[in-house]
């Protein structure tokens, strides 16, 4: 049986995954090499949410799931550092180092939003629990 509690839990899980992606983005703000050690700046990750059709109550309430964690494909942030050992040797960007293009403000606002959404789901769980406790009061 799918209950309101399961729906709220799916929200918690989704927001936590989103927060993981955000912390990864912030941690890798200056990573000039990718996970394989190649000279490619880190690209921001973001979680894509989707309504979970497997998690629906009899009354049509639906849960959420993370459909995918996408990687952004944008131009790196070039900084002129000719003395840097990893500076680009030739071409248009000679003397520049490619850094990830991560907007700290956006990431922080997203983190704040994810945290608040997590809290909101915890709040709903508390209300759900409270309601069932009130029902028990009829009995006891």
């Amino acid at each position: 049986m799918i209950s309101a509690l399961d729906i709220s839990t799916s929200g918690l899980v989704a927001q936590r995954i989103r927060l993981n992606a955000i912390s990864s983005n912030l941690a890798n703000m200056s990573s000039v090499r990718n996970e394989n050690g190649e000279l490619k700046p880190y690209q921001a990750r973001f979680a894509v949410f989707q309504t979970d059709n497997e998690l629906t109550t009899a009354h049509g309430a639906a849960g959420v799931k993370v459909a995918a964690v996408e990687t952004e494909q944008i131009e790196p942030n070039y900084r002129y550092q000719p003395g840097h050992p990893l500076a680009i040797k030739e071409g248009k960007w000679k003397g520049y180092v490619a850094y990830p293009r991560i907007n700290m403000t956006t990431e922080f606002v997203d983190a704040l939003e994810a945290t608040r959404a997590y809290e909101a789901n915890v709040g709903v769980i508390e209300i759900t629990k409270n309601m069932s406790q009130q029902t028990l009061r009829i009995l006891a």
Binding site: L5, T9, V13, K129, S132, Q133, L136, L139, A140
Partner: protein, 137 residues
């Protein structure tokens, strides 16, 4: 026995089940960071199925408090284990563990609710019996 005319034997099984399940769920939370740990659970659906059979055939043997144990695969009820594990929609971590904190806490909460309901009904039944015994209103 005076209890057999009440639902107390039934509620006793429910409480025993929720208690057993609580231990497993607490173990899951405790092993959140254990590499290779697989979540263990008792199937509520299977328990309720057995309970229904018990209710329908009154006078039958009371069901075991923990059917559908989904612990280590060495258990003879391996089929049940697969079924429940697949229904657990948790993420498999790189260390081979699949404990999702939120799911476990939600399961704990629901288990606690079921436990509280059973205990409340049991309390009111005992109160009725008490009233009958004491011959007072």
């Amino acid at each position: 026995m005076v209890f057999e005319s009440t639902t107390i034997p039934l509620l006793q099984q429910v409480v025993a089940f929720t208690e057993a399940r609580h231990h497993l769920l607490a173990g899951n939370v405790a092993n959140m960071d254990t590499p290779g740990y697989q979540v263990r659970d008792l199937s509520v659906e299977k328990f309720q199925e057995k309970l229904r059979v018990f209710v329908e055939a009154s006078g039958a043997e009371p069901p075991v408090a923990s059917p559908g144990y989904t612990g280590p695969a060495t258990s003879p009820r391996e089929a049940a284990l697969r079924e429940v594990e697949e229904s657990m929609k948790s993420i498999l971590m790189h260390d081979g563990s699949n404990v999702g904190l939120e799911q476990q806490v939600a399961a704990l909460t629901k288990n606690q609710m079921l436990h509280n309901v059973a205990i409340s009904i049991m309390t009111s039944q005992f109160r009725l019996l008490q009233t009958a015994i004491s011959e007072r209103v």
